[in-house]
Amino acid sequence: MNDEELGEVLRAVLAAADPVPQAALQAAYESIGWRDPDSQLALLDSDPMLQPAHLRGRPSRLLTFRTGSIVIDLEVSEADGQVRLLGQLDPPQAADVVVQSASGSRDLQADNQGRFAAEGLPDGWMRVLVASGNAEGARVTTEWFRP
């Protein structure tokens, strides 16, 4: 076997012994369904590590997402395989908030101070949509993040 042949054998071996799992591939094919061109993307601008907020589980993190019009601060913590979000909108405002993930959506409401919270979310990729009631009315979506 020359190098080219050995390489081609290895390609076949890797594809057979360690293929992309079918479920992961199917989820990738379906992920185009999350396309949301009409909403503004709020980009993650910091992910500092916080002091452990719980005695058990992983420490919490404060994620800050920004667009021109709004800042979304999220404190994300995870315990026993479930995720808790505490959110703060800046400027503070009442708004409809949706937490989206591959396993479903959770509708929330930010109060007049721009605060919202969700518990018992499944551990996995998620993002937060904010439809503020203000005059601009633009929907803002955070980048996907992983608790």
Binding site: L14, A16, D18, A28, Y29, S31, G124, R146
Partner: protein, 197 residues
């Protein structure tokens, strides 16, 4: 929704990333499936190259595609899509390693998680039809992490262009050739040894 099978059957050589990204950005499911089919091997190779267990690699895989959907509208040069995906997958893999073992800096993590895979299980052996293939898989598992990572990307399925390999490995194109030669020589030596036993 189609199953993705048609896209898989599509001739990979006909795949045009520029047209596919433009169509997918306006919601074309078939074009999106063609993109996933063309680069799923690359994204998986990068994730597994960090010695991530299958569940974590699947997490990185999922995050990388979500990231692309999010940024479909602002890919400037879709001819570099493979490089874009490889970089995104690498970033997600390192982020996952940081999340799961927080106190270690990236360099230590890379060293620690250096080598991937290796020991073959009964299931894998069953998937590998011939003794030769089993011996190659076992030999692969005995190689250094750096060689495993490089060879996974160089021999990803479907195959990649050189500049995509370079981006996936974060290595200049000029040093891939010599490293590839060295790693293949190591693989051959280990394979010959395994086959002799």
């Amino acid at each position: 929704m189609t199953t993705g099978l048609e896209a898989t059957i599509c001739d990979v050589a006909d795949f045009d990333p520029v047209a596919a990204v433009a169509a997918a950005a306006s919601g074309d499911q078939r074009a999106w499936e063609a993109i996933v089919s063309a680069y799923s091997g690359l994204v998986w190779a990068v994730a597994r190259g960090y010695r991530l267990p299958a569940a974590d690699a699947a997490d990185v895989f999922q995050g990388t595609w979500l990231r692309l959907v999010e940024h479909l509208g602002d890919i400037r040069d879709a001819t570099k899509l493979g490089g874009w995906l490889a970089t995104a997958a690498r970033r997600e893999a390192l982020a996952l390693l940081r999340r799961t073992s927080r106190s270690l800096p990236v360099d230590d993590l890379e060293a620690m998680f250096g080598a991937v895979g290796g020991t073959s299980t009964a299931v894998e052996d069953e998937l590998l039809r011939t003794e030769e293939h089993q011996a190659v898989w076992q030999a692969f598992g005995q190689m250094s992490g750096n060689c495993q990572r490089l060879l996974r990307v160089v021999f990803a399925d479907p195959p990649l262009r050189y500049e995509e390999i370079s981006a996936a490995l974060d290595m200049p194109m000029g040093s891939i050739g010599p490293t590839r030669l060295r790693c293949l020589a190591t693989l051959r030596a280990l394979f010959t040894q395994t086959a002799a036993n």
